[in-house]
């Protein structure tokens, strides 16, 4: 289906990033029972962690080499170009989102929800709303992974510069910033509520930086940890414990089974709770333990749709934000029956794969020798 991957490309990164994109999409459709399939119900961490970590890893891998070979300016400029693309995509998605809210607010005459509609009054000042969108202060509900990504990429030249010279210092600095967010509540503010970003960039940069650190300096560490049976056993025990804990959130009644001191939910997702972080890292270690880089099934046709999506993650992620809103709109406006939930979920995933295939095709056009006939 696609060209043979180059020797260095780690298909696991593409595969699991693709998987996290599918999960994020399914989780972001409101009232979607398909979200029972995604990992967030079976442990502390969820698809967002996978996505951010792999994004950090890949960014460091790709731009790190560029920075070594072509210097700080060239690599930095490339990274900022990427951040700019993300920013433009974000503005585009926000316009669609605001249009949807405006449509509802404009045609709303039902007195039953008079109180709830107060929340849409901010639309009466479009000049402010638009400015706040540009300033990243008005974020699409439930989808601010994208602005997080923008901020991370915008500062990534500096992170990468440091990581390449003194990875340990870089990681320590990242942990310090996380602590300021987790314990001190440092965060960006949102319009109109003044609340912080759900994906607090000061906290979530830690995972991105850990990803970058792994790509640059962590290879040996990962090898040792991955091959240690003790470590893997501990990880598995932690994952099983987390799973058992998570099952109690499936029903409010079950939460009562736990003794008071064990009731840890909800874990702080905005501030990246250490329990979530540990859960993700354990999951990642067990995964690299089980799935070697040259695992056969990664080249099987069945894995290709996921790998494709992971390879074009920016485009696919943006589409998925748009799709999850559209899907929510369809479920609210037409029918939210279970078959509709299945339908919009499947349809969305197909659209994501379709876009990824299209992007690959575009890319292959650019790489073809000019004399080859384009069929």
């Amino acid at each position: 289906m696609t060209a043979k991957p180059s020797g260095q490309r780690d298909l696991r990164l593409d595969f699991f990033r693709g998987l996290s994109l599918w999960f994020i999409f399914i989780d972001h459709i409101p009232f979607n029972r398909m979200s029972w399939m995604t990992i967030r119900n079976y442990g502390f961490s969820d698809a967002a962690e996978i996505f951010v970590f792999i994004s950090g890893y890949t960014a460091a891998f790709v731009y790190g080499r560029m920075m070594r070979e072509q210097g700080f300016v060239v690599a930095g400029a490339r990274i900022l170009k990427r951040a700019w693309q993300l920013y433009v995509a974000f503005i585009f998605l926000s316009v669609i989102y605001i249009a949807q809210i405006a449509y509802v607010a404009h045609s709303f005459e039902n007195p039953l929800f008079a109180e709830e509609m107060v929340t849409m009054h901010f639309l009466s000042r479009p000049e402010i709303v638009l400015l706040e969108v540009l300033r990243l202060r008005f974020l699409l509900a439930n989808a601010d992974v994208l602005p997080l990504y923008i901020v991370l990429m915008a500062v990534f030249p500096a992170i990468l510069w440091l990581m390449l010279r003194a990875p340990t210092v870089g990681l320590a600095l990242s942990i310090a910033v996380w602590a300021a967010a987790y314990f001190g509540g440092v965060n960006f503010n949102l319009y109109p509520t003044g609340r912080g970003w759900f994906f607090n960039p000061f906290a979530w940069q830690l995972l991105f930086s850990i990803g970058a650190w792994c790509a640059i300096a962590g290879g040996e560490w990962i090898r040792v940890l991955r091959e240690s049976n003790v470590v893997i056993t501990l990880c598995v025990i932690y994952l099983i414990g987390a799973f058992a804990m998570q099952t109690t959130t499936w029903s409010p009644r079950w939460l009562n089974i736990l003794p008071e001191w064990l009731v840890i939910f909800p874990l702080n997702k905005s501030g990246m709770s250490p329990l979530r972080l540990a859960h993700f890292l354990a999951l990642a270690l067990v995964t690299v333990h089980l799935v070697p880089q040259n695992a056969k099934w990664l080249s099987s046709p069945l894995a290709q749709p996921l790998i494709l999506c992971g390879r074009h993650s920016l485009e696919v992620f943006c589409l998925s934000v748009f799709l999850s809103y559209t899907a929510g709109f369809i479920l609210i406006e037409y029918s939210s029956a279970l078959y509709m939930q299945v339908l919009v979920s499947l349809g969305g995933v197909l659209a994501m794969v379709g876009l990824a295939a299209l992007m690959s095709w575009y890319k292959s056009l650019g790489q073809r020798p000019p004399r080859t006939q384009a069929a």
Partner: protein
């Protein structure tokens, strides 16, 4: 599929009503599965006041005027609740007072509670909560403490309490507002303090899924009256069951 499951349930409910030969039309139209309107916690004061003093004084505290009678020319659930209670308890003097602090969060309503308990001496305080705090995005920790204090304040002054959570509004829910942290808090407090929670959110969500009412309607097409009638009816039975004055194994109504 859900659709079929629900309709079987609805048919069963309708059949049960018919079998009882009770022309409970409102109950039928307002059907929700019984567990959604089962009070977890007893209303001793209500039972006592009704039996001994033959009177029932209720105060409804709310930060959302349009939901408790602030909208001109519309009857809202407190009014329907009063009518339903009077119908069910003809020999008892039922009085309902409403205290509103327009679009003020729970912490502001909390300051009202002691005075209400002193002067109105109600047997029951229904604390309608959640909407304004979700809108204002109150700090969830502060919201939790407010609720705990409020529930304790009512109990201290010898009245029963019922928590009544926000409406389920499919459009604003998730599109702009995330109710879940506030809902979870309300449910937690109700659970730990053994205060009956009238879970309006789940009830309305059920109606929307079951197709009883289309809550996505944009128009002013009588939905307001229908929902408030049903909430009033269900709440009346909820109170009576909490006070042990009605069988628990009803068919939801």
């Amino acid at each position: 599929m859900t659709g079929t499951k629900v309709s079987i349930r609805m048919v069963a409910a309708a059949a049960a009503v018919a079998a009882l030969l009770e022309p409970a039309r409102a109950n039928e139209a307002c059907y929700v599965p019984p567990f959604l309107v089962e009070p977890h916690g007893a209303l001793h004061r209500v039972a006592e006041a009704a039996k001994r003093d033959k009177q029932l004084s209720i105060v409804i505290v709310s930060g959302s005027p349009s939901q408790v009678g602030g909208t001109k020319g519309r009857r809202s659930y407190p009014s329907y609740l009063e009518a339903a209670l009077k119908k069910r308890l003809p020999e008892i003097d039922v009085r309902i007072d409403i205290r509103v602090k327009t679009r003020r969060p729970a912490s502001d309503l909390l300051t009202l509670l002691p005075a209400i308990a002193e002067e109105a001496k109600p047997s029951l305080v229904i604390w309608q909560i959640g909407t304004v705090d979700t809108l204002l995005q109150t700090d969830v920790g502060a919201f939790t403490r407010t609720l705990e204090k409020g529930v304790a304040a009512v109990a201290e002054r010898g009245a029963d309490a019922i928590l009544l959570d926000m409406q389920y509004s499919p459009r604003t829910d998730r599109l702009l507002l995330d109710y879940s942290p506030y809902l979870d808090t309300i449910r937690d407090i109700a659970d730990t303090a053994k205060v009956p929670l009238f879970d309006r959110y789940e009830i309305m969500r059920y109606w929307n899924v079951a197709g009883t009412f289309d809550l996505t309607s944009l128009k002013d097409d009588g939905l307001y009256e229908k929902i408030h009638t049903c909430i009033g009816e269900l709440l009346a039975d909820f109170i009576l069951r909490g006070a042990g004055m009605k069988e628990s194994k009803g068919i939801g109504g």
